[in-house]
């Protein structure tokens, strides 16, 4: 218990993120149902976001928003890095767009073949 309490917070977030990436990759590689593959992709995506956020963490830092609690003069020593947060904001939106397009492809394939199993789509097989 004490070992876990001593770990830096961002390391825990980093490891959870990397774990999510692995779970997502496993899902994408092993599942045959397209919806499950897309869920795997989303998990990987979320894992990468967690890794990026954890890299921007500064020990004891708070959100990079200047207000009464974090005055301008102290901001440099008290906030986390705003750049990775901004990058993750972009990445979340792009991930959402990609997922939406993948899901609509899945809908189209289901309509054409009445199945969501990737094994049934044999045209691209070699």
């Amino acid at each position: 218990m004490s070992i876990i309490a001593e770990l830096p917070l961002s390391l825990i977030v980093l490891c959870s993120g990397l774990g999510l990436v692995l779970i997502g990759l496993w899902g994408m590689l092993t599942q045959r149902n397209m919806i499950r593959m897309i869920i795997g992709f989303s998990l990987t995506d979320t894992g990468i976001h967690m890794v990026m956020v954890s890299i921007g963490y500064v020990t004891g830092g708070t959100a990079p928003i200047i207000n009464a609690a974090v005055p301008v003069t102290e901001a440099v020593n008290r906030v986390v890095d705003p750049v990775p947060s901004a990058l993750v904001l972009t990445a979340i939106v792009i991930g959402l767009g990609v997922t939406a397009v993948m899901l609509s492809f899945a809908v189209r394939i289901y309509k054409a073949r009445k199945t969501l199993m990737i094994d049934e789509c044999t045209e691209l097989r070699w």
């Binding site: 500064v58 020990t59 200047i66 901001a75 705003p82 767009g97 397009v101 189209r108």
Partner: protein, 246 residues
């Protein structure tokens, strides 16, 4: 079998990379050089209290324009893939599908609780979305978050009243007008201030007030409207009725 082994090997190797990465990780004790510049200069230079917003909208504004473009293209792609066809036999197919659904009893109307809750909550959800994107330069949130909240309000509406109709014309008009105004504001930045998407084309205002930080609230309002309408259109496309046989 050999495939499974291959997958396991790939995952094990990836895991090895990740363990190497995580084991040599040390938490930052101070900001990076770039982050330090943004935190030190951002408040004076741009007047935005939320420094993430300052980075997203102004310092890396071009990236955000690209992000909005990607979202637009993906919404257009979803629209193209799930378009409603207007051919006659398709319509018959659609009707047959509806009848089959009725027979199976899958097309139940929403319960009274959901309908009443939607009528009560929908205006508040929409108002909250607008609040989030108007205050993007002061508090956590911004155009994308506010847009997502507005789209969740639309989701609510589609769940409670499945036959409600979302005007394609309104969506297209709002989307293109806000996207266009976003680029116009960017070009105004080149003419009147330091560069493309510079927010100092308007006065900085009182630091921490609603109308401050130059053009950031304006840009985030446009982004919020655009994202909200785009995501609503995407949700609308995924509806059962709209995705008739193709």
């Amino acid at each position: 079998m050999i495939k499974r082994l291959f997958i396991l090997m790939i995952l094990a190797l990836m895991g090895l990379i990740f363990i190497q990465l995580a084991s040599s990780y040390t938490e930052n004790s101070s900001l990076s050089k770039l982050g330090r510049y943004y935190v030190e200069e951002g408040p004076q230079e741009l007047g935005a209290a939320n420094l993430v917003t300052a980075v997203v909208v102004t310092y890396r504004g071009l990236d955000t324009l690209g992000e909005v473009t990607v979202l637009f293209i993906s919404a257009a792609g979803v629209g193209l893939l799930l378009r409603r066809t207007r051919r006659k036999d398709d319509k018959e197919d659609l009707e047959r599908g509806d009848r089959a659904e009725e027979a199976a009893g899958t097309h139940k109307p929403a319960s009274e609780i959901v309908t009443t809750a939607t009528q009560l909550l929908l205006p508040m959800v929409m108002l909250f979305g607008i609040y989030v994107f108007l205050n993007g330069h002061l508090s956590p949130g911004g155009g994308f978050q506010g847009g997502a909240i507005i789209a969740s309000g639309t989701m609510f509406l589609l769940l409670a009243l499945p036959e409600s109709h979302i005007s394609r014309l309104l969506v297209a008009l709002t989307e293109s007008l806000s996207g266009f105004s976003y680029v116009v504001i960017g070009v105004l930045g080149v003419i009147m201030a330091g560069g493309f998407l510079d927010n100092r084309i308007m006065g900085p205002g009182t630091y921490g007030a609603l109308f401050s930080a130059g053009a950031i609230p304006l840009i985030y309002t446009l982004v919020g409207l655009k994202v909200g309408f785009e995501l609503s259109a995407v949700l609308d496309r995924f509806r059962k009725d709209d995705t008739g046989p193709v």
